[in-house]
Symmetry: none
Amino acid sequence: MSRKKVKLAYIQNHTTRKLTFKKRKKGFMKKMSEITTLCDVEACAIVYGQNDTQPEVWPSPSGVQGTYAKFRTMPSMEQTKKQLNMETFLRQRIDKAKDQLRKQKKENREKEMSILMSQCLTGRSLHDLSMGDLTDLGWVVDHKVEDINRKVKKVHDELAWNGSNQVQVVPTQPPPPAISFNI
Amino acid sequence: MSRKKVKLAYIQNHTTRKLTFKKRKKGFMKKMSEITTLCDVEACAIVYGQNDTQPEVWPSPSGVQGTYAKFRTMPSMEQTKKQLNMETFLRQRIDKAKDQLRKQKKENREKEMSILMSQCLTGRSLHDLSMGDLTDLGWVVDHKVEDINRKVKKVHDELAWNGSNQVQVVPTQPPPPAISFNI
DNA sequence: GGTGCTATTTATAATGT
DNA sequence: TACATTATAAATAGCAC
């Protein structure tokens, strides 16, 4: 079939344009999340759909705000060229420190999760939970769901990889509401 | 050749990570320009390379500023949609949790810095410092420099803002070598 | 440390339902 | 009009210089 090379110009047809936008926006956000995960860089983006009531932002409204603030306060680049020896040394140390911080961050999350899970299992009722608890609980749920999805995806990929590509895997389900926790 | 499917996780190897970042940043910016051209939407992005002193922005610093301003002044639909279903609620909690983690990470750094500074001031000689100390010291230096640069920039902006835009500010200096610390 | 080169994976334009 | 499928274009991971 004729899937010609895309012409890099405004798409006149409304339907096509809207569809393309939707697809590409999805791909774009995925790329964004990938580059930040793979390279541990900070990034943000705002995309206004043509007639969408709200802009699409990444990673979150507050995340955009934070990164933008950093951009604004960033000193000008005059200071770029430094004595390379010392700079190289420092950069290496900094990289190492960053790795350590990443690990600590992860540990913090795990710890946070454990604490919350056990709290939730001590039998307190939903009304006893504070706003802060719910905040964290939201994260726990999200983390769990992501974790499960990753595993499902992995199994799926492995199956497909082994040539059993006719196997159908049920799409991952949306997260259960928080109240489904056995609190 | 073996080009295995990319594992969606932080790339430990420095060289690989840098290369991947460079490639993907290029691809990312291209996608950005394509989606705006094809669909005529407004968008902007900021990406901080880990070692780059200057963030990569799209379409331009002023373009980012403009789009961000629009985003800020837009009556946040998030507020409008206060009749939140559980998912929206969770998303908000998650965003909040993410911000908290960001802050915690920053706090960790500050704490680390304080500890090291005081250690450095207790009179130990340079030879008593371990490699680990130097690792952290590198970070301390970098942080301090960033901090100072921020302040310089702020003063600079404020001066310019008051109409004294002919004031010349001496570019920020490179950081002193770590050994200049009074250890 | 960078650059160029494919083999693959990934994104997506066109199409089908 | 929106969503699923599939053929093709585009991006890029792993290597070789």
